[in-house]
Amino acid sequence: MNVLFLPVLAGIAGNSYLQLGFGVQELLSRRNRPAGGDIAPSAAIFLSGFFSWILFNYILSPLGLGFLEAFLIIPVVILISVLTERLLFTLSRKEIPVFSTSRTAYDGLAYASAFLTLRLSSGPLDAMAVSLGSSVGFLACGLMLRAVHAHLDTEPIPRCLRGTPSMLIASGLIALISSFSAATVFAVWGKTP
């Protein structure tokens, strides 16, 4: 039951973008790019969450080095993000795009996933569920924001609101809906996050 609950918690109630504010530069800057561009960040979000949990729980904690988490979490997620991107682009035989934000762990999205996984998981299966929830949550946000942007482009809105401000306001409204959706899901489920 927990394995089903955790992805919903990480994907909706703890969505890295909508609820925690990470990834604004990543998501808003890719509004004009093809949907395929979300594969590398979503893979990095998943792998950062899962492998950080493995590293801190199975390698550093048994060695008594768990206290290093605050210092090592950022270097670890950046390393995983950069390596994931390189691997995916090498496999697909494409050049890494110049606008890539992998060096900032996809504007913190991978960090948020790793942090949530470390706090919410009590086993490797939980870790996988939370990381997967974060990754799917990011993909859903990317799709929604792309659709919103396509509509906003054709609407007669003031020039000063075009682009980032209108996307932020739209994100706020989506965040509000997602909060209420999460609360409803948890109420039906009979669980409190």
Binding site: F71, R103, D107, Y111, F115, P165, L168, L173, L176, S179
Partner: protein
């Protein structure tokens, strides 16, 4: 069109409201003034010390590994600063732990550290002080709007959690309290960016919706 002199810090393309480089901190910690104070102090310490150390050790650091050394240095200073402040304000530091961890990413994602590269250590130090002061002013301004609506008070960090001042019991409206939630932050910052663009256009003649904005 007016001359764009001194537009670098706030009104330039590197400004906090143009590039949204520290958005996550403005989004998260401005729901409480106590959190904004803590994060501003840590950002001030980490950004200034890191830029100074990076400048001073520029000869020793191989260019090829420059980025990862910068990551390690900024992460180490953030961890030390968090530990230092947890002596005085343990509960506030614990509440902000998630966003304290994001400070190195804000340092790396901003163009601030790149601008420091071409400058002398003293100039880099002054630049980092100015940059962090601008960020702090923005964070305090947002917290002054969000916290009274959300919590009906203004708070400062204390040894036993937050200390609240000016309790406003009048703010009981759920709609008003929404300003302190994440959704409210998105909308508030969205309108703030629009206002910023309007003023920037009046002052410097920059386009209302520039490229990549």
């Amino acid at each position: 069109m007016k001359i764009d002199k001194n537009a670098g810090f706030f009104w330039g393309s590197d400004g906090h409201l143009s590039s949204l480089s520290n958005f996550v901190l403005l989004f998260a910690v401005t729901s409480r003034m106590a959190h904004a104070i803590l994060i501003s102090l840590v950002v001030f310490l980490v950004f200034t010390i890191t830029s100074l150390v990076m400048k001073a050790s520029a000869i020793l650091v191989p260019r090829r590994h420059d980025f990862f050394i910068r990551v390690l240095i900024v992460s180490a200073f953030t961890a030390v600063a968090s530990r230092l402040f947890s002596i005085f304000w343990p509960i506030t530091v614990r509440d902000c732990a998630f966003y304290l961890g994001a400070i190195p990413l804000c340092y790396l994602s901003g163009s601030f550290n790149l601008r420091c590269e071409s400058k002398s250590p003293l100039a880099a130090l002054i630049l980092s002080i100015k940059d962090t002061l601008v960020f702090s002013a923005l964070a305090f301004a947002l917290a002054l709007v969000r916290e009274p609506f959300g919590y009906g008070a203004i708070s400062v960090p204390g040894p036993e959690g937050v200390i609240e001042f000016f309790g406003l019991n009048a703010v009981t409206n759920v709609g008003a309290r929404f300003a302190s939630a994440g959704a409210g932050a998105f909308i508030l910052i969205g309108y703030l960016v629009a206002l910023y663009r309007k003023i920037r256009f009046r002052l410097y003649g920059k386009p209302l919706c520039g490229e990549n904005e």
